[in-house]
Amino acid sequence: MLGFTLLARKAMQAGLLCLVCLLPITLEGQEDLAKPIPILTGSTGYFTRVNGGTFQDAPSVSPLLLVPMGDKWLLEAKGSYSLTYAKGSEGYYEGSSAYGMPYGQIDYLANRYVTITAGRFVTPFGVYSERLGPNWVRCLQLTPMIQSVFSGSSLGGMLRGGFPAGSDKVNFNYAAYFSANNTHHLLATDRSTGGRIGFFFPGPRLEFGASFQQVLQLDRPHSAGVHFVWQPNRVPVTLRSEFVRQSGTKGSGYWIESSYRLSQIPYLRRLELVGRGQQFFADPKLTYAQVKKLGALGKDTNQADAGINYYFRSDIRASASYGRQFVLNRNVNLWVVGMTYRFVMPLGPKGNPL
């Protein structure tokens, strides 16, 4: 066992050394104007939340490093750091910090059908975690409850891609992965496998798909879900929804969200109205100890949120939302007010427009 650990550590060191040696060579080779350059992007945010009368101030930053190598490789590493100041039992504000690495992966665009990904990645399940997760993208800052039902991060390998399915009228996309168990307190992942398939119709801008995850450890639960996104051509409305059900103790639920950008109304074109409804159904067979352990996932919950976003620019946005959560014996108000800023910085000569 010790020998295996040493071997794994040596392999990781050798891999890192290769990466460090290869990076300057790759960057040197990117003199051509059309060649992509490494960039540092990401977002910062500052939000004040009131959850059932408890005030919280939470500044955060999530940098994302993108390093393209040659024509087919891409290294992606995203970090997150947030502080939370909340009023403690003695009436004073106490701060706590949290940091982590949502993903650190290397992608190889093998051909038009397949991209191979290795490392730590966001589990391809539904659309929220992969595409709507960053705080500058999501319309409402509160994460839907069903995101905790399945395992959100994976460590291993993944095959994915998107291509026209026979004609230009429909695109097919897929992702299939295998993840190993990792018990590191910051980078914990489950041993699991699963995937997602989806169909996108560019004409009516309609997308729907299904996801599956099988955990291969402990009580080996599986999760299944469906999702859809529709953005009509004539009206600046987006409708999104996801449903997830787990076979284990984590229950099932769904959310449906609608956002309406007032781009057709003069003076209000920077404003966006958002609404979301969600229901979560706890497993009815839970014991008292399991309910206590699961926390929010141990009780049936209904929640409705409404919010507005104001885009000062495409990268600076102010947000405010109000939500009402209905849980057995505890109905609470949820307020969120704050701002997000998305940054993009080139780490090399960026070239002139074509």
Binding site: Q30, L33, A34, K35, P36, I37, P38, I39, T41, L66, P68, L74, E76, D107, L109, R112, T115, T117, E130, R131, L132, W136, V137, R160, G161, G162, F163, P164, N171, N173, Y174, A175, G198, P202, R205, E207, V229, Q231, T238, Y311, R313, S314, D315, R317, R342, V344, P346, G348, P349, K350, G351, N352, P353, L354
Partner: protein, 105 residues
């Protein structure tokens, strides 16, 4: 004798370069001829305009489904961003190419 060899070599080199340049110009000319036969050319719309329009459509269909439209980026930055999004949002190869063109213009 040596001078004659040098002159001959230079002449051969110039000839080769001229042939290569002529071949390239010919190919470009053929491409232009081909362009003339496209529907875009016949309707008076340039190839650039057509690809820009297609890129804009693909951008709104794919990218705006999740987030607000970003500003245009320098070509080398756009290349990285589009590659990232091709992986994350499972863009097709053609969509990625047209969106890159649109974002870089």
């Amino acid at each position: 004798m040596k001078i004659r060899n040098v002159i001959f070599s230079l002449f051969a080199l110039v000839l080769l370069l001229t042939l290569a340049a002529a071949a390239r110009t010919g190919a470009a000319g053929k491409d232009k001829e081909k362009d003339k036969d496209t529907p875009a050319a016949r309707s008076g719309v340039s190839q650039d305009d057509t690809s820009r329009l297609q890129g804009e459509q693909r951008f709104h269909a794919n990218c705006a489904r999740c987030h607000a439209a970003p500003p245009k980026f320098a070509p080398r930055m756009a290349g990285t961003i589009v590659r990232h999004m091709r992986v994350r949002a499972n863009l097709t190869e053609e969509d990625a190419r047209l969106i890159l063109r649109y974002l870089s213009q």
